[in-house]
Amino acid sequence: MKALRRKDGLWVLGLHTGGIVAATVAILSAGGFETFVVGIQRQEPLFHAAWSSGLVLGAVAACFDEVLGTREYLRQRAVAPRDLLLARLQGIGSVLLGWLVLAPLCAWLWFAAFDDGWQFTSLGSLGRLAVGFVPALSSAAIGFAAASLPTSWWRRLVIAAAWWLAGVPLVDDLSRTASLTHAVGWFVLGHVALAVLALAVAFAAVGHDADADRPWPQRLRCWALGPTVVGLGLVVAALLREPQAASLSGLHRIYPQVVRHGERLDLARWEGEGAWRVVTAEHAATATVLKRDDGHGDVRGTWRSQLQLPDQYEIEAPRWAQRVRRTAWGVLGTFYLSDDGRAWWRHWRTGVVQFGKGEANDPFEVGASLAGLGDTVVVHEPAANRLWRLDPDRRHCVPLALPADDRIEQLDSRWLRQGQDDELWTRLGIGDVSSELVPFVRGAVRSYVLRGDQLVAIPGLGDDRGAAPDDDPMQRVPADPITFSFASSPDAAAAPFRHEFTPRTALERAAAGGALTCSLLRPPLLQGIAHLRPLERRPACWFDVLVLGGRRAWLVLAGGAFAALLAWRTARRLRRLGAPRPTIAFWSTATVLFGPAAAVLAVVCERPRAYADRALPGPFPAPRITTVTRIEEPVA
């Protein structure tokens, strides 16, 4: 083992250094004070540094001997292949541990040496940093397992991509809470589970050599290609979201609008330049064109598309449930309020000062918020209904007198534009700028700005909230994206109107057909799950919006039938190649469950070459010249 560690020394050392540099830079790029004292909600650079370094680590560990050309030299050692694997895993473990311990340490030392406020370092931030490294673990395991598989470079790349591109978003999705933040426990557990699965594959691959002229053993196929099929299915489903969304929004663009003109409601298509062409109930154009200046009055469309599409497919850093209020305030410096109520004031000249309520600098209540107001900052404690204003000279907060007949709701801000909000403009005395973001205190009754140490009510400042989208006269169509019905509200002035929207023209059918085709190509297993799931507000990217919530059972069945057809063809091809029965069973099942993704993978992974039976018939050729010697029994 010691000797094996010695030969891995180079990459262990190199990746130690590289990873620590990358992670340190990533940690510090979010700001040392923010990271170590306040604690940040999202560590985007660290997340991306962790997974990319992890993948590189895994791949290098697995391919080191292959790249050096010492693979066969190593195979000939008197060492069991399993011990070789364990030695490599030891190397990976030591590198990961080094990153976990040394990168935060380096970043903290840098922070302590070149930044202010290190004395306020909170230990909790170290825990968050450690969690930030967890994607490195799963990525390293995935990179290692995929790169250890005995097959060609590009297949290993495809397999690694399928595992990683499905696994990481899957963990992201499973650990996401209702408030769109991530639960730390599930996040860590998910990544550890990914790593364990990948390592199981790596162990299954032990002792197998790449050989394009032989099929994989069935055990390895199940272990390695099973997860690949699942991953590829998920990725294909997620990627099909985009063309499907494009088809659906195209359909909504070409559907006719219900237009109101005078007292009437009619179906019509927008023709541009203020003109609407009326269409029949079958969506066929008529000769009638409605124009605003034709005496029809105000012609307006009355429904607006509101597609409930699944989430977009992206690889994103987790967002921790932590609310840090931070605000920059010009010459006074930067203020921070952490979620546990501690607050800091950071200034380039005075350094970092912790401040709080009153002379004693008590922390604020949990859930307090901080905002710049007037020429200083105020802290709002919603539970106690109090406002605290920072006195820059005394470096602590003093309470603000509140109007007796009002209750403070929140610290708010609003963009004011010259020419639009001129009344407020003069009332607030804003200088000569075209627009300005005005922070203010929103009360239940009035809204206020801070003048000196007094709250001054400004009428009309908080009025922008009233214009909620609910007042839009248009009807929103949320339900199904392809077929939905429109009915005029009973209290409307116009005569009652009702229309069932469904694709009727060739163009509409083509757009709907595009969306349905995308559904057919999705994995039937996922379609079935989506069919059973309720229609959520933001479904995960692999679910099909057309079947969610128990709709279109026929589409699920059609997808299943298509997959069954593909499975039959896959099985026929494999039988022709001469694959054994378990192999055929594996791919048939995979294709029935995961559709075209599995069928394509079967073609990619099972090549005719591996199954070709080229054996020559005996007798074997014998040498022309031979010396015959008597041979005893072979040594046992």
Binding site: E72, A78, R614, I625
Partner: protein
């Protein structure tokens, strides 16, 4: 004699390319077996099959009584291997490489290695990438034999070495043979070296052995002569004629187990030079040269018929 390794009807393809089409050979205890053949004849494939880096499509391979597919560490420890390109870790120094070898093979003879290093002028501080090809080859061989293997497998160990280095390598091999009496299977292009140390040679051609015989036997049984036929006489054919090469005024004949009747017949029909045994190089050229595409190993039936008629020894 006990069998150390054995190929039995081994067939192996790479895609459409048939590399071995029924290789059968045996190496007995203490024997030095040289596997010869032109580039691409399948020598390296055969050795990789032997060490379990590759699986055969048909046939069986046994080494030290085991299937190479599941060679455990204990069996691998009994086999020394010098790869084609003397691959060692370029990240290491000579000392590191020795320590690595010592740590991964039981029975490592430290004193032997120290003495051998001294003899060929290698210092432990030298970096592997800075070694010359010959030094790397020597180091590989020293490491391969350092743990007293029962079987040494070398894939063209002398490739790319100069004359002096080749001789050094040969000396190291001779020392090993004298010390331990281990069996050796090696492939080589240097027929002079092969003539010095091989007990038995196999000439691999087109995926099967064309020759599998002891060197002494070859020299006794194969004869070359020049024949200038009388006007109109046609060159002889048959199982005893390995090659007929036209030359000025006549033919160069390579004969196998030439019976006196054949020689008499040739003398009657033309002028025949006294038959002399060929050197290994001549024999190799005669059997595998570019003008011999048709000379292949023959089906086993014919062999049986011939050895039944007293052709074999």
């Amino acid at each position: 004699m006990t069998v150390i390794l054995e190929f039995d009807g081994v067939q192996r393809w790479f895609g459409e390319q048939r590399v071995l089409r029924g290789l059968s050979l045996r190496v007995e205890q203490g024997q030095v077996y040289a596997l010869l053949g032109r580039n691409g004849a399948g020598k390296t494939t055969a050795l990789r099959l032997l060490l379990g880096f590759l699986q055969p499509h048909r046939g069986t391979v046994r080494v030290l009584g085991h299937d190479p597919r599941d060679l455990g560490p204990a069996v691998r420890a009994r086999i020394g291997y010098v790869g084609e390109d003397h691959r060692l870790y370029p990240t290491m120094s000579v000392g590191d490489a020795i320590a690595f070898e010592a740590g991964t093979r039981p029975g490592f003879r430290r004193t032997f290695v120290d003495r051998a290093l001294e003899r060929c002028g290698l210092r432990p501080a030298q970096r592997i990438p800075r070694l010359s090809r010959g030094q790397r080859a020597q180091l590989s061989l020293i490491l391969a034999v350092a743990s007293n293997p029962e079987l040494l497998v070398c894939d063209d160990p002398a490739l790319g070495l100069d004359v002096v280095m080749r001789r050094e390598l040969l000396d190291a091999l001779i020392d090993l043979l004298a010390d331990t009496g281990c069996s050796v299977l090696f492939s080589s292009h240097f027929l002079g070296d092969v003539e010095r140390i091989a007990d038995r040679i196999g000439i691999l051609h087109d995926g099967a052995l064309l020759v599998d015989a002891t060197l002494d036997d070859l020299k006794q049984r194969v004869a070359r002569c020049t024949w200038v036929p009388a006007h109109g006489a046609v060159p002889p054919t048959g199982p005893h004629v390995l090659r007929v090469a036209p030359r000025r005024g006549g033919h160069d004949l390579t004969l196998l187990d030439a019976p006196p009747a054949l020689l008499d017949d040739l003398r009657r029909r033309g002028e025949l030079s006294p038959p002399v045994p060929p050197s290994l190089e001549d024999l190799f050229l005669d059997l595998t040269g570019p003008d011999r595409p048709g000379l292949l190993a023959e089906p086993i039936g014919e062999l049986a018929a011939r050895s039944g008629a007293g052709g074999g020894r």
